[in-house]
């Protein structure tokens, strides 16, 4: 058995090499260059936005790789740095910094759990995985088979346990788990294929749903452990199902959607238990499973570029083709060829021209005489990548950036007694998630302006308190400054990660001049910056 498996792996390895060789030999240029070519070849003569300036780039890359904006001093240093390769240097520094693992843990937590809840062991698992730069295929292998005996997988079980935990009198949501595995790891939402072949998407068949479903029907939460874990019941027989449209009975054994049934060996009496999860995990995250590669390539692309090549992210099928099919093929195959190394992939994406383009398009501005803009935004849709697509911030990114901007981050990152997190930070995190995150089970992949977020920033006591003077915070620093010109610069560098324009500087100086209560006046100006769109998104 073991040997057979090993042999199959070798065969598969050879096949990949054979298939992949011509591609590699035909074009050995860096991936980033080839990405830009494939994007720009579709510009169709249209002028793209210029390259983002240093400040725009700095803010963007810090939010993406560190999960927060930089400090005013960090911004100054970067703007003053005259090295030609300072952007690449910064990218490498950020990928090597501890903030990278925290940011990735938050990003993947939201993607994988969709705000269902959290768990310390799960957080630790994800954090460690990104600290060690665990590759995506390995992470997925561990999520699909969170072997409780394997200490390196502790916590990974939360992906399953949270989805199949008891919920009052409701039945365990095995269909929901099946659907999520399809959506999150293959980009295919099989939900409507549960009861019949999908009515509108010919590619999704009922057996694709039922085959994966049959694996999960035997899963339950393993209790009595201090980490989330599952246990499998032996699969006694194939799953029978019928379509609601056609009563002919069908049956299926465990199956990876769009692939063959798994070959489940007979349980030997007194032998080690057969784990279908282990079989699933072995054959799922592999280059042969092309949707597996395409899905994650598309999701990483979305995370960096603000729009999926396939969009929505979980509707990969022939009726919803990618905007740049050849690019998605390239990303998927290159990612597989680099053993699903996420850090490598993100670096390649970050150094592209596509990523470093400005989100502002000069041709889309009305000119000073009020003449309408030369280009309307309808002509440069998000999937054109003619300008950088502004991105939503996770509640966590917004929180850390707000704390950074208001000079409260260092204080709140100090652990409380016994190494516990600062209780104020814990409370604020919960409040930010309540105010800015989506409802549980809704992916956070598009603009969703929320009144609750506005009401929170307007009226919540804790949030407003960040703008009252405390030792060393932004308001405190500004209050010690006597030169309002310098004050303006410090404020704009701290909040907007850029220097103020002359107009902005003049405006602020004029506003402050007659103020009796400078602290309140500065706080109000800062509040308005922090709640304005320039701060609350990644642009």
């Amino acid at each position: 058995m073991e040997r057979q498996w090993f042999f199959r792996r070798i065969i598969r390895g050879i096949l990949i090499l054979v298939l992949a060789t011509p591609v590699v030999s035909a074009d050995e240029r860096p991936l980033a260059l080839r990405i830009d070519e494939l994007i720009e070849v579709r510009f169709d003569g249209q002028q793209p936005a210029p390259t983002a300036d240093d400040a725009e780039f700095l803010r963007r890359i810090c939010l993406d790789f560190a999960g927060r904006i930089p400090t005013a001093d960090e911004t100054r240093r970067f703007l003053d740095n005259s090295a030609a390769d300072k952007r690449t240097q910064l990218i490498d520094q950020l990928l090597a910094a501890p903030t990278y693992a925290q940011r990735m843990q938050e990003l993947f937590h939201v993607m994988l759990m969709e705000r269902r809840g959290d768990n310390d062991k799960w957080t630790h698992y994800l954090r460690t995985a990104f600290d060690q730069n665990k590759h995506w295929d390995q992470i997925v292998r561990e999520l699909l088979y969170p072997d409780a005996e394997d200490e390196s997988r502790r916590g990974a079980g939360f992906f399953y346990t949270k989805r199949i935990e008891a919920n009052g009198q409701n039945a365990v949501d095995y269909p929901g788990l099946t659907r999520d595995v399809g959506r999150l790891f293959l980009g295919a939402d099989l939900q409507c294929a549960q009861c019949h072949n999908h009515l509108f998407i010919d590619d999704y068949k009922q057996q694709d749903f039922q085959g994966l479903y049959s694996v999960y029907l035997n899963l339950s939460v393993k209790s009595g452990l201090d980490f989330p874990a599952v246990t499998e019941k032996a699969m006694e027989k194939k799953l029978e199902f019928v379509s609601v449209f056609d009563p002919t009975p069908h049956q299926t054994g465990p199956r990876i959607p769009f692939a063959k049934e798994l070959n489940v060996p007979e349980q030997v009496k007194d032998g080690p238990p057969v784990s279908v999860l282990a079989l699933l995990a072995k054959d799922f995250p592999i280059p042969d499973n092309i949707l597996f590669s395409k899905n994650i390539a598309n999701r990483l692309w979305f995370m960096m570029m603000g729009r999926g090549l396939v969009h929505p992210l979980d509707l990969h099928h022939s009726g919803n083709p990618p905007s740049h099919p050849e690019l998605l093929e390239l990303l998927a195959s290159e990612f597989a060829a680099h053993q699903y190394d996420i850090k490598w992939m993100l670096r390649e994406l970050a150094i592209t021209r596509t990523y470093q383009r400005s989100s502002r398009h000069p041709a889309a501005m009305a000119d000073d005489n009020g003449e309408p803009a030369a280009v309307s935004f309808d002509q440069i849709p998000p999937h054109s990548y003619l300008l950088f697509n502004e991105k939503r911030l996770l509640a966590e990114q917004l929180l850390y950036s707000t704390l950074q901007a208001t000079g409260n981050l260092d204080r709140l990152l100090q652990p409380a007694a016994e190494g516990k997190p600062n209780p104020e930070l814990v409370d604020l995190t919960a409040k930010y998630i309540a105010a800015f995150a989506n409802e549980p089970r809704e992916p956070e992949d598009q603009i969703n302006p929320a009144v609750k977020g506005a009401l929170f920033t307007l009226n919540d006591e804790m949030s407003l308190h960040l703008l009252s003077r405390q030792q060393g915070n932004l308001i405190d620093r500004l209050m010690t400054m006597t030169d309002d010109q310098l004050l303006a610069e410090e404020l704009y560098l701290s909040v907007f990660t850029r220097k103020p324009t002359d107009e902005e500087r003049t405006e602020l100086v004029a506003w402050l001049a007659p103020q009796v209560d400078r602290e309140r006046a500065i706080g109000m100006w800062a509040w308005s910056m922090l709640t304005s769109v320039e701060f609350v998104i990644n642009h």
């Binding site: 009198q169 039945a171 009861c195 379509s243 609601v244 009563p247």
Partner: protein, 355 residues
């Protein structure tokens, strides 16, 4: 008590090949106490009769005069009469041996609306009725005069008399079973079968408790733990110790969206035979003795079961099934929109013993 293997050898229900077909759906199909007739009540306001005496099953004239749904059908011991009740509030008593039966007596407004349950006292003197109007009424079986009435806390879904006759047992929408003294119209106790009622935010869940007792046990049929989009759950029969009111066995079948166990009867040897629907596909028939943790027989080879009736010979069973598949939208056969129909399968136990 026999174990499962012995029980299966003796009591595996097998098709006899005899099937009664009816062009509309039916609620109940029961053997008459004399064993000569098979009588069924329907969705079409009729009561159908078949003569079971010859080799060939003969369809007889129906009993007419009800409205809408005739969900309730019971026989009156010591007579050749049966009682029926409909969803518009009428009860009627029939001489089922007549060529073309007319009501011996009827009451068109016995209840306000849907009558869900009728029970007959073991001595054949009293009828008990109940339904959506949350009232239980006791009638003289002979002439239909009202003997007693009292209000019931919830919609009454099932009624039966204890075999010794001194107690009336009701099961309601919310899964509460109550033992009543029918003479005094007072409640003796409650038995908790609330697991058959799933309270969610909208406050609607159904249970179809139908009581059948031996002297020592009470069974009620329904469903538990509904699945997601469909308002149906696991078919389930609960068996209680009659003395203590404590549950002895939960007999659950199928999947969480299969739907109701519609009927459960005690075989004199002590096991419970039950039937249910399933979604989609075919419902179950199962035989399960409360002493064992698994059914000794289960099958979903027929289709969605609605009622079970044991012939007085103790060997034959009438299994009523509904033939009405789920189907969204327009489905025409030869240009005609089709409703559901019914079949009554005559089954026979495998062993030779009779009761």
């Amino acid at each position: 008590m026999m174990n499962n293997a012995t029980l299966l050898a003796q009591y595996e229900p097998r098709p006899t090949g005899k099937v009664v077909e009816y062009e509309r759906q039916l609620f109940q199909a029961r053997f008459s106490p004399c064993g000569s007739f098979l009588i069924a009540s329907g969705y079409d306001a009729t009561i159908q009769r078949w003569d079971m005496r010859g080799d060939e099953i003969k369809r007889l004239n129906p009993c007419l005069g009800h409205h809408a749904w005739v969900q309730c059908l019971s026989f009156i011991p010591g007579t050749e009469r049966n009682v029926s009740a409909d969803s518009w509030g009428q009860i009627a008593v029939w001489q089922y041996t007549d060529k073309t039966p007319a009501p011996v007596w009827k009451n068109e407004s016995a209840h306000d609306g849907w009558i869900r349950a009728v029970a007959v006292s073991p001595d054949g003197q009293l009828l008990a009725t109940g339904g959506n109007d949350r009232v239980i009424r006791i009638w003289s079986a002979t002439d239909g005069t009202l003997q007693k009435e009292w209000s019931h806390p919830e919609k009454v879904f099932s009624l039966c008399f204890h075999p010794q006759g001194a107690s009336l047992i009701s099961g309601d929408l919310k899964g509460v079973i109550r033992e009543w003294d029918p003479a005094a119209a007072t409640m003796r106790r409650e038995i908790d079968a609330r697991v058959l009622y799933q309270l969610d935010k909208i406050g609607v869940r159904r249970s179809a408790t139908s009581g059948q007792t031996t002297r020592k046990q009470l069974a009620c049929a329904g469903q538990k733990t509904p699945g997601g989009g469909f308002s149906t759950g696991f078919p389930c029969v609960l068996v209680f110790n009659w003395e203590t009111g404590q549950p002895i066995r939960e007999m659950q079948m199928g999947k969480n969206d299969d739907g109701f166990a519609y009927d459960a009867i005690f075989h004199p040897s002590g096991f419970v035979m039950a039937t249910s629907c399933a979604f989609p596909g075919k419902g179950f028939v199962w035989c399960w003795t409360p002493a064992e943790d698994k059914a000794f027989y289960e099958s979903n080879s027929i289709t969605n079961g609605r009622s079970l009736s044991l012939h007085p010979d103790g060997r034959r069973i009438a299994l009523l099934v509904s033939e009405s598949a789920n189907a969204n939208g327009r489905q025409l056969v030869d240009g005609v929109y089709q409703g559901g129909s019914a079949k009554i399968h005559i089954l026979e136990f495998s062993g030779q013993d009779t009761v």
